[in-house]
């Protein structure tokens, strides 16, 4: 399990290849990458991501541990950036390795749902007309409802 909270960009290609190569005993590797959308009509000039330094690493580790406990996984990788990002830049990635594809898919989806609403990051969009905090959506909160509590 590797968790990295960092300001610097990461190399998706290198990270994906290294993660998969490190898990030759697993048949399935899933990655998710979140990107600052670069839309021609979009007035957004940059995205700024604030986080809670003392809590971020710990919160993500808890989410990753929960994924390892829920699914049959070989490993988990989470990289999440903070600071100023321009459109087209990668915000974050997760990778999961499992013997069976359904576990790798579900675990990656689980990680994303929890990172979205339970990891202490806050995004704001900077455009010529001003600065606006990205609002959490009901859909993001609802996504967590899929993951019913595990049986004890």
């Amino acid at each position: 399990m590797r968790i990295s909270v960092q300001e610097a960009p990461f190399d998706l290609g290198q990270e994906s290849a290294a993660f998969a190569a490190g898990h030759r005993d697993m048949g399935a590797v899933v990655t998710f990458t979140g990107i600052v959308r670069d839309l021609p009509e979009d007035p957004m000039e940059a995205m700024e991501i604030e986080h809670y330094p003392g809590m971020t690493q710990k919160a993500i580790s808890q989410i990753a541990e929960e994924a390892l406990a829920r699914f049959s996984l070989g490993d988990v990788l989470v990289i999440h950036r903070y600071g100023r990002l321009v459109p087209g830049e990668m915000i974050m990635m997760v990778a999961t390795a499992a013997r069976h594809r359904s576990h790798a898919f579900e675990a990656a989806s689980f990680l994303m749902d929890y990172l979205k609403s339970r990891a202490p990051f806050w995004k704001r969009e900077i455009s010529r007309s001003g600065v606006e905090w990205v609002a959490a959506t009901d859909a993001d909160e609802d996504a967590l409802a899929r993951w019913t509590p595990r049986a004890p």
Partner: protein, 81 residues
């Protein structure tokens, strides 16, 4: 105790963290005290349902007790990922 503010809570209050001396029993009591301080606190804590709280860097409920807590953080719902 240390009280931290993030995102628009930080902006409304105008500072990222401060020391607070309080006898508040629960988070909710602390919010009531802060709200009574100044207009900018009242604005930040206007709608508690739009806020989240962490006690010693763990998400918590507003009814949670503050006994033994060293760090309280207030912020809007997270938007990670």
């Amino acid at each position: 105790m240390d009280v931290l503010y993030f995102a628009w809570v930080r902006e409304r209050i105008g500072l990222p963290r401060e020391k607070v001396e309080t006898e508040a029993v629960t988070v909710r009591d602390l919010v009531t005290e802060l709200r009574a301080r100044e207009e900018r606190y009242a604005a930040a804590f206007e709608d508690i349902s739009a806020l989240r709280v962490a006690l010693d860097q763990e998400l918590a409920e507003f009814d949670a007790p503050l006994a033994g807590v060293r760090e309280v953080a207030f912020f809007p719902p997270m938007t990670g990922g």
